[in-house]
């Protein structure tokens, strides 16, 4: 009884779905006293309209037919699915590009393979790069007075070559 009161107090005092759900699961669903304070399925059915109560559905099909005639009549295009498909393709392409770049970078940072651009020692060779499903350029950057070599992928600009 005390538990019921505490649960009831907490339920009323804190309108948080998670807390309320927790209280229902932990106490109210198992407690016969609390269950007695809830309508049973049969009691609810006394008030609700049941499937068997719905008799006259003659309006439904003619109404649907009329409204379909008024608007576009073809089944809808799977817009969401299409969007998801396109997004997935872009995501996959970006992931491939990222992995390729990462592999190249990791290979490039091995001490024995690091080579300054134009030194003739091609320790790193980028065979092909794709960004967003299109071929991209690999750009090498070697800051002056530095051992560091930065490589990145860049989209090919329209009508021109990457600077």
């Amino acid at each position: 009884m005390l538990k019921c009161r505490i649960a009831g107090f907490l339920y009323g005092a804190f309108p948080l779905y998670r807390l309320r759900s927790f209280l229902i699961r932990r106490h109210m669903e198992a407690c016969p006293l609390c269950q007695a304070g809830l309508a049973s399925r049969d009691e609810a059915l006394l008030l609700l309209t049941r499937e068997t109560d719905v008799k006259d559905l003659g309006f439904l099909w003619p109404g649907i037919r009329r409204r379909l005639k008024e608007g576009p009549i073809e089944p809808g295009k799977p817009r969401i699915a299409w969007k998801l498909g396109w997004n997935s393709a872009l995501g996959a392409a970006a992931a491939v590009a990222a992995v390729t770049s990462l592999v190249m970078l990791l290979r490039g940072f091995r001490p024995e393979t690091i080579a300054a651009p134009g030194s003739g020692n091609n320790g790193i060779q980028v065979v092909s790069l794709m960004v967003e499903g299109r071929p991209a350029d690999a750009v090498y950057f070697h800051p002056q007075d530095s051992e560091m070599v930065i490589i990145w992928a860049e989209k090919v600009r329209e009508g021109g070559v990457t600077p």
């Binding site: 779905y17 809830l38 009691e43």
Partner: protein
């Protein structure tokens, strides 16, 4: 099939499948809409709109998911849309009534004759509680299934159902006393 030919809603197979869906889910859809909306006219509107949405989105149905739940989700959302429209219409009507005080015949001040079917207590439940209760009592749905239809967490669905059952019990006890 005659209807389908007159309507010309696409390939015969699609049209025939759609007609089957309407026949199969018409009654449970109408029952759910009636329980949420409380009057037949609005429930008919919601049902028709729901089946039109179903028809237009048949291509997007995820075969891995429960088709019945998907149908109920659309009906639930259409019922909520009808309620929103009604609220808007009521606000507009109130504004017009206030602006034209003295010009309107008080006897004509109604939004139209609407047959009220819901018992008093159902009108005190909010639409989410009514939906949860209707799915639980009529369909035997669990809170997880209710949450799938209502697109909410199972915790939220559990609370809606609990509140609905509690309110009904209090009402029934008061009425019997």
């Amino acid at each position: 099939m005659e209807d389908v030919q007159v309507l010309d809603i696409g390939p015969a197979a699609v049209a025939s499948d759609f007609r089957d869906i309407v026949d199969r889910f018409g009654a449970p859809a109408m029952a759910l809409a009636l329980n949420i909306l409380g009057n037949r006219e609005d429930a008919e509107d919601a049902c028709q709109e729901a089946f039109i949405r179903i028809f237009r989105n048949l291509d997007t149905v995820d075969s891995g998911k429960n088709f019945k739940n998907w149908v109920y989700t659309i009906i639930y959302h259409c019922a909520l849309d009808v309620l929103k429209k009604k609220r808007k219409a009521r606000r507009l009507f109130e504004e017009i009534k206030n602006e034209s005080k003295g010009f309107l015949d008080p006897g004509s001040a109604s939004l139209g004759k609407r047959e009220k079917l819901s018992p008093e207590i159902l009108r005190r439940l909010n639409p989410k509680e009514k939906t949860a209760l209707s799915l639980w009592a009529n369909e035997g749905y669990t809170t997880v299934e209710i949450s799938e239809v209502m697109r909410c967490s199972s915790s939220t669905a559990r609370v809606h159902l609990f509140n609905a059952r509690k309110k009904i019990k209090i009402f029934l006890e008061k009425n019997h006393a």
